[in-house]
Symmetry: C2
Subunit: 147 residues, 2 copies
Amino acid sequence: MRIYASTTISRLKALADPTRLRIVNLLAVRPLCVCSIEQVLGVSQTAASRHLARLQAAGILDSERRAQWVYYSLDEGFVTDHAGLLDYLKGEAADDVQLREDGARLEQHVEADTLCAADPEASTPDTVSVLSLETTRTKRNTQKEYV
Amino acid sequence: MRIYASTTISRLKALADPTRLRIVNLLAVRPLCVCSIEQVLGVSQTAASRHLARLQAAGILDSERRAQWVYYSLDEGFVTDHAGLLDYLKGEAADDVQLREDGARLEQHVEADTLCAADPEASTPDTVSVLSLETTRTKRNTQKEYV
DNA sequence: CGCGTATATGCGCATATCCGCATAATATGG
DNA sequence: CCATATTATGCGGATATGCGCATATACGCG
């Protein structure tokens, strides 16, 4: 197995995949759990999990477990240390049909409140217990008909 | 063979390779012929040619034949349309040991005038004939002892 | 604990990538 | 035309990547 001399390479490699770029495009809007990403992008659970792991290994994403769900978000260090790269990608995304459609689809799900679980941004784990989230949506598959 | 939905992906894929990033790092300084790139980076002729072709296919490099030599340079359109990406890469290069060493080695070759052929920037093909280049260096292998 | 949901991972397969060797293609000069 | 130098490319092998299937793991709940 090859070890890359620079992590610049692993970052670029991580971003050089259509599905992973779509994921970063979504997470630039807001953190999401794995099942939401599956929903919005229409990719398999396996693919979503694997691509997310790859992006996290490259230092691009961070993850936080909350109950059964794992929320992925852009890594804070990545956002600050590689703002130039992120800005470039956002510019490219604005010109890309599929990435724009993904963003629109995400927005629809947010407005219709059809994402699999509560908004992770609404509160930090410290202030509100996971147990108090009554709006939790269950069973990933109940959403699949909407797609 | 897969066709990528967006050329953003092919650009990132092209850059997501250590040797190709080293090549872009050199060509950001000045255009170079294939044999000079071999010299400075210490890579095989095959590898240099293949990586250059990949970068050119992604729209990152441009090439111009002059006599037996093919000079590669950063594509003008790439530099203007993707300045953000290029700037990011330059910033990363400043922090990368190998890329800095490559730059220093290139500078040494330039100052010692040990590159394989005359400076392509000195003149355009229109103003000065190829035949007038007396400083042409020949036989790629004569330089190899210096490495 | 046992069950259901969400996520991660081992495995095999198809394909892509990277490399070196050999050779072809291009260009110059005698 | 022939020899030489530079660059490109066909080929095969080693490795990496992406995917789906099946299964393991983590978590909350009753």
